[in-house]
Amino acid sequence: MPSVKKKDIENNTNNDIEFDPVKFLKSLTIDHFLACKETRNILINEHYWKFESKLKPILMDLYCRYNSYCIGFTSMFGKDPHIFYRECFADIIYDKYIEKDYDLSIFYNNPELAMPLFELNNK
């Protein structure tokens, strides 16, 4: 007859093998990720980083082109002849008018980033 201790150890090893972090993360919804402070920050930063590398330069360039087109016409862009507000222009659009579709694949590819979420769910 196997001892109780041995049985427990066997059960534990079985549990360890069964737990698949990616599967667990895929079972969660976006709200779970947003409810956790650490994962929310990761998602927000990741989304903004993608915007910064993809769309922000295009919007800034657009502002610069129109500003340059209006040189000498002080009624438009008159207070910003040195194009200081190009970043502000892009950020206003991002903050208020771009839908935030957060991409969860960052956690599926790097489950260790979701450690606080595992702790929250006692995994």
Partner: protein
């Protein structure tokens, strides 16, 4: 037999404390306010906290607020209709800018929450820079 209280304070176990505490109060004299560019003094209307607001005054202030808004809007509309040397109005330039911005945003795979509000926001932003 009842006894009358003595006029002597020591006899009645009372101790009179002399008022030696001196309180100092610094009161700043309010400067008279004048109506700008005139010699007329400005006086505030006295209102009791429990009295209802004066209907006539409330109406005047709300009308003033509306008038101010209308004036602001008219100024904005005048600005929109200003034309550049090449004949293009600001309204036209802004429309083109917004169209291009929308096109770029969609091209990069992003979705806009409200296109009309975005148009207003860009117009207001550029108006403030002008």
């Amino acid at each position: 037999m009842s006894t009358l209280p003595s006029s002597n304070c020591w006899a009645n176990h009372k101790l009179f404390k002399p008022k030696n505490n001196i309180t100092l109060k610094i009161i700043e004299k309010e400067e008279d306010l004048y109506i700008p560019n005139t010699k007329c003094k400005l006086k505030y209307m006295k209102m009791r906290p429990d009295s209802p607001p004066n209907k006539c005054l409330t109406r005047i202030f709300s009308q003033l607020k509306i008038a101010r808004e209308v004036k602001k809007q008219n100024k904005f509309q005048t600005w929109l209709n200003l034309a550049k040397n090449d004949g293009h109005k600001i309204k036209f330039i802004l429309t083109k800018l917004v169209e291009e911005a929308n096109k770029d945003i969609k091209k990069c795979g992003y979705r806009i929450t409200d296109e009309n509000l975005l148009k207003n926001e860009i117009a207001t932003f550029i108006y403030n820079q002008s």
